[in-house]
């Protein structure tokens, strides 16, 4: 596509191409593009694998239908199975009873491999839910703000400033306290009861998801707005305006595809932050209820013993680093796939 020309010509050229490609949705296009990126595909497969393994760590999903008691499926042991005598043993521990611990056991003699597999449930779901909530709300808010008149834009951004001043921790303490108290008092009816049901299903972290998602779209919104401000002054937007395109069409066809790249990249880079935030909150007591494991809490419980029992820190840390790497490579792939100008290059 090494065609030089005025912006108007280029825009016309792309419109022609779009017409030529009619019949294929942009999403399908992006997906085809994504498949060409081997690293991204491998990362995607790895993440699917990790999700699969942690979902089927035990047969909770299956037992809903069979009604049987939940048993470990992929994980060799249940995450809370304690063996005091074995505490802190390193990898490749074999006992006289024939138990084998590939990655060793933790301070209570619980299997590190099983806990890491189960831990993926918390850490992955917080990553996925919080990232999605933040991306959707943030991009939508940012585009609307950036595309609107300066007066509206100013107002919307001041609201973001206001929310920024919101102390996340106080907010989460309040949510947890309120809902946990409600759950204990058993007076959970109506909407509150519904939420508490969900919360229990999530191991007591549903409100964490909400809180983290709700308070982390702000940076996303500012990025999306900055990008929109810049994009809406671009020639192709002027061109689209001049041919009478509706605002809706301009936003969805011209602005959104052009700004989504940096947004996705930023979001994938935020994923470790969410996972760490979960650990931090667990550390100050606002996270999952023990003995439910998450990678964050496994690290923060044992980092002081880095030198004495390194496996207790490095096993969950390795899981975390690998997943974050995969999210990043996938994010890269997605960015390339969504960038219209990279197609065919």
């Amino acid at each position: 596509m090494a065609v030089a020309g005025t912006p108007e010509e280029l825009d016309r050229l792309r419109t022609t191409q779009e017409v030529a490609r009619r019949g294929r949705s942009p999403l399908a296009d992006a997906f085809r593009q994504l498949l060409k990126n081997r690293l991204a595909v491998a990362s995607g497969l790895f993440l699917i694998f990790v999700v699969f393994v942690s979902v089927f760590a035990d047969d909770a999903l299956i037992s809903i239908f069979t009604g049987k008691e939940v048993e470990p499926l992929i994980a060799p042991y249940h995450f809370a199975e304690v063996n005091f005598r074995l505490h802190d043993q390193g990898p490749l521990t074999r006992t006289e009873e024939g138990d084998f611990y590939l990655l060793g056991v933790d301070y209570l003699g619980r299997d590190m491999l099983s806990r890491t597999i189960y831990g993926g449930r918390v850490s992955l779901s917080i990553a996925i839910v919080a990232a999605t909530v933040s991306l959707v709300i943030g991009v939508a808010y940012g585009i609307i703000s950036g595309y609107s008149s300066p007066r509206v834009d100013n107002l919307m951004m001041r609201f973001v400033d206001f929310l920024y001043g919101f102390p996340l921790i106080i907010f989460i303490i309040l949510l947890q306290v309120y809902f946990k108290a409600l759950a204990r008092s058993g007076s959970a009816e109506g909407i509150a009861g519904f939420f508490i049901g969900i919360d229990n299903a999530f191991g007591g972290m549903f409100f964490l998801f909400i809180a983290i998602g709700l308070l982390n779209w702000l940076a996303m919104a500012r990025i999306a707005r900055g990008q929109t401000l810049s994009a809406k002054e671009k020639e192709y937007v002027d061109a689209a305006k001049s041919v009478g395109a509706s605002d809706r069409r301009i936003v969805s066809k011209h602005i959104l595809p052009n700004i989504i790249g940096p947004c996705i990249i930023y979001e994938t880079l935020q994923i470790p932050t969410y996972i760490f935030l979960e650990a931090f909150l667990s550390f100050i007591g606002l996270g999952v209820n023990p003995p439910t494991p998450s990678w964050g809490i496994m690290i923060s419980e044992t980092y002081r013993g880095l030198r004495t029992f390194p496996h207790e820190v490095f096993v969950p840390a390795a899981a975390l680093v690998l997943v974050v790497l995969a999210f990043n490579f996938l994010g890269d792939g997605l960015r390339d796939a969504f960038d219209p100008r990279l197609r065919g290059s």
Binding site: F84, L108, I173, K180, S185, G186, L286, P290, T302, G305
Partner: protein, 649 residues
Amino acid sequence: MKSKLLTFMGLLVLAGLVLGACAQPAADDSQVTELQAQLDAALADAGASDEEIAALQEQLETAKEAAAAAAAAAAEAVPAEEPMEPQPVTLDYNFGTEPPTADPSLATDTTSSNLIGSIFMGLTDQDDVTKEIVPSLATSWASSEDKTVWTFQLRDDIPWVQYNTTTGEVDPVLDDDGNPRIVNANDVVYGVKRTCDPNTASDYAWLLYSIKGCEALNSADPSAEDFQDVYGAMSVVALDDFTVEFTTEFGAGFFPGVVSMANLYPTPQWIIEDKGDRWIEPGFIVTNGAYVMSEWVHGDHLILEKNPLWPLWGTDYGSGNIERIFGVTIEEASTSFAMYQNDELDTAGVPLEEVDRVKAEMASEFKNSPINCTYYYGFVTEKPPTDDVRVRKALSMGIDRATLVETVTKGGQIPANTFTNPLNFGQHAEDPDIAPWALTEEKGGTGYAKAVEMGKGLLAEAGFPNGAGLDILLMHNVSEGHARIAQAVQAMWQEAYPEMTVSVETQEWRVYLDTIRASSAIEQVPNVFRLGWCGDYPHANNWMHEVFNPDEGANRIRLSVDDPQVGDLVKEYAETTVAAQVASPAEADALYKRAEILLNDEIVGIAPIYYYTTVNVTKPWLERSFDQIKRHFFQWELDWDAKQAALEQ
């Protein structure tokens, strides 16, 4: 664009450097003298505000630093002729956290007590080795027959001193006639009354309610007309310059222990009234202890210097040789330990996770020492199913204390079968007459296996065979250590009684204390909560009576004489701890044993778990003691040559 940005950043850096350079004006000594004069004038002028003084002090400090820097530069240029002054014997120590206060009346925590105990001295003290109450400011004491009137005879040679921030000397404080002020009975009376005074608003005033008139004073309205009368009516009086007399509400045999607490120390009235809340800052603060505070950089470090005017140096009580203490306030245990290994600290705590390795690799430096605290699980005796004494007993039996301390807490803690810590008068720790199922067979108990069998029997009797239908909520406040113990206990219970369910919930500390208070709704409280108790003074009254007597303490376990199962026992318990207060030592000891049996074995209000220890490492050149109430730095010995030799390597 990029170059623009780079230029901009470069300019910023330059600007910073220039500002940094300008901010250190070439001050000379004359400027220092002038500022000092101004400051002195301001201090003398009662009308000068704290802000003005603070500003002047700041200027003075800057000027002094600049002058010192100039002098140092000059010294560097010309080879120093005078030999270097020998460095003081310095202890590098970690206080563990920023002391919330240095005001004896306001102290509520151990860090503040450690600081205050080093710079002030009180009437009595507790010996680190024998754990006995020993003379300190008081040389002797006596009580009336019924132990309600206590007289203390004071030393007459302890001067009030103040650190001079200009000269770096410790100056005696002079009275209006130019004589040194000696700590006297009126200073003690003022210090004690100040803690009870509602204007001081001390959190710990209630610990002094055993002194007649303290509660009335503390509850009085400061603006009421008769306030001075109430103040005067409080029963602590100076009989003469060096004799002080207390009258207590009831015959309290433990009173000499109570007066060892910081809240009853003598304090300097004139400087407190002059400086207000800021009187504890170096330069202002007037003290009477072994050390003076020369610098307090809040949140970072504080420096204590030897008080050469303290007459007890060289005696058995002040046998140490440390001349300066550089105290940092690092909270993170692993960091403090790394600093110790890097020779930045002379003694430090060991993080739980490292105990196994440190015990093996640094055995000669490692030491765990008992401290006066007990870890326990409390039962809410009103909430089903822990409203059944058999369930509570089975749960207490289901905790394998020996395994817990060996594999989870690791610091050499002692499995507990009583509440009162062994370091107190009236304790009966490890007495197999009390809750023998909590003790191993070697110690005369039943051992864990038998305890579980007994527990199963009790549960079956109570209608929960093998724990079926038993649903227990265990709650603890946020902390890794508590989480480890809770998860271990959860696993032990579930192994002992396989059909029961145990859920564990954690809460942030203040929320937690709010949740488990005796007045919160029964749906909100857990069945089992964890807490620890540390003694304020070494006597069972501080434990059995003040914590669990339902008429006295917080009663989080909700003991009630109306309880259908154990109401009579609760009544007996309440009467026993009251009777023990006025009984003779031998009788009191027997009464406390009965109370322990009631609390741990018959009512089963709590499941005691272990008696605390602290786990420390100490460098070979330091000889330290391990204490209960406060650090006795003035009894520690440091081999300065050995330390310097080690640091130079």
